[in-house]
């Protein structure tokens, strides 16, 4: 691939999806776009670029963006954020939202659905504790292909063996030939929609808890700050943001502050000094000790 094609793809990906593709990661173009060209019966990346450039094939552009922004996911990935969600976050919100009995959760890069379904499993395990509660989980992703997979909830044997305890496999999945499908009760707990984090958040609504893990790493500083600002706008003062292990808000945004001892979890910054209601909750204090 010539430098002209690389520059075109680099600019297009930045403009359309915010993805920053450095030259060191140019190998990703080859490994991810050659299969796309093959699928579209095109003669390699060069022809893919020609089609994307002439603007007459929007589906080519979309396929390139989807291929470059789709990242692997697995159930209970990194485990710790899910422990925090189960042991600290949910006990806090079950107390703090007693009046409304509503909790809204957004997985901002839902990918093939493993993260939102992992959260749904944790919620389901609460049983009678959340009876009568209205807990919404919204999963969004820029890729419609990957969201189709999430909606179908159909996973390979390999995928259900990475991170998913076998007890959860038999409880929440049905076997279909060589695949495993998430049971309809669990699938119905999650709503999905296509969404580009560069677009306006106005139509999304408000969320108590936002999972935006392993996404910001692909954006430049300015885009990261803009996305964090828009996330903050759609959260209440006691909202919580979960980022990936290699991500932080420090040096990027002062709208969120890290929660001591809960790595990867940030709360909406407050003007008041002292620990927040979340940090003072007994379950949170116990988990963090």
């Amino acid at each position: 691939m010539g430098p002209g094609d690389f520059n075109f793809l680099q600019e297009m990906l930045k403009r359309e999806s915010g993805l920053v593709l450095t030259e060191e990661k140019s190998y990703l173009l080859e490994s991810r776009l050659i299969p796309v060209a093959r699928k579209l019966s095109l003669n390699g990346i060069e022809e893919l670029v020609v089609r994307a450039k002439n603007g007459t094939s929007p589906e080519v552009k979309k396929a390139i963006i989807e291929a470059m922004t789709t990242n692997e996911s697995f159930f209970f990935r990194d485990i710790k954020p899910f422990d925090i969600f189960r042991e600290a976050t949910l006990p806090y919100y079950l107390d703090a939202r007693q009046n409304t009995r509503k909790i809204k959760i957004w997985c901002a890069a839902a990918s093939s659905g493993q993260e939102p379904y992992s959260l749904a499993m944790i919620l389901n395990e609460l049983g009678p504790k959340i009876a009568g509660w209205n807990v919404d989980i919204l999963g969004t992703d820029i890729s419609t292909d990957i969201l189709d997979k999430a909606i179908n909830g159909l996973y390979t044997q390999f995928e259900v063996q990475r991170g998913l305890p076998v007890q959860n496999l038999v409880k929440y999945f049905d076997k279909e030939d060589e695949h495993w499908r998430v049971k309809s009760e669990l699938r119905s707990m999650v709503k999905y929609r296509e969404f580009n984090l560069l677009d306006s958040f106005a139509t999304l609504g408000q969320f108590d808890i936002v999972f935006c893990r392993n996404v910001l790493i692909y954006f430049d500083q300015e885009t990261k700050a803009q996305i964090l600002a828009r996330i903050a706008e759609c959260m209440p003062p006691d909202g919580l943001l979960f980022l990936g292990g290699a991500e932080t808000v420090l040096g990027i945004s002062n709208l969120f502050q890290p929660i001591p001892k809960l790595r990867g979890v940030y709360e909406v910054a407050s003007k008041e000094s002292g620990p927040s209601a979340f940090m003072e909750h007994p379950a949170v204090a116990a988990f963090a000790s």
Partner: protein, 121 residues
């Protein structure tokens, strides 16, 4: 260093599992069927057992049931590793006292993920 008993009648599978487990810092012992594995456990309980289902002499499920009856037999973490991949087999294994379940084919990532899940890593 934790120990893992690899029980499988396939020499190739034992060899692959041994390599993966040694990279995860396990000391490994091998058995080609459930009876040999049971005799080894009577002598010394391992920390973990990676267990095939279909084997001659004594299969994996009978080994597990016998193991859990032995003094100290509730100690080892048992991870089934088998081509049996239907819900009934998984449930039978869990009821017999298995801690986790791997469906073959497996690779290093799956073994590592499952062993981490049950607290072995």
């Amino acid at each position: 260093m934790k120990s893992c008993l690899i029980v499988d009648d396939s020499k190739v599978i034992r060899m692959v599992a041994k390599k993966i487990l040694q990279e995860l810092d396990f000391e490994t012992v091998e058995a080609e069927d459930g009876q040999v594995a049971l005799d080894l456990c009577k002598n010394q309980m391992p920390d973990a057992v990676l267990l095939d289902w279909n084997m001659p002499v004594m299969d994996g499920i009978d080994f597990l049931k016998n193991l859990r009856q032995l003094p100290g037999g509730d100690g080892p973490v048992v991870v089934f590793c088998t081509t049996e991949n239907d819900v009934n087999h998984i449930q039978e294994a869990m009821e017999a006292g298995a801690n986790e379940y791997i469906m073959k084919p497996f690779d290093g990532e799956i073994i590592q993920a499952k062993f981490a899940q049950v607290g072995l890593l």
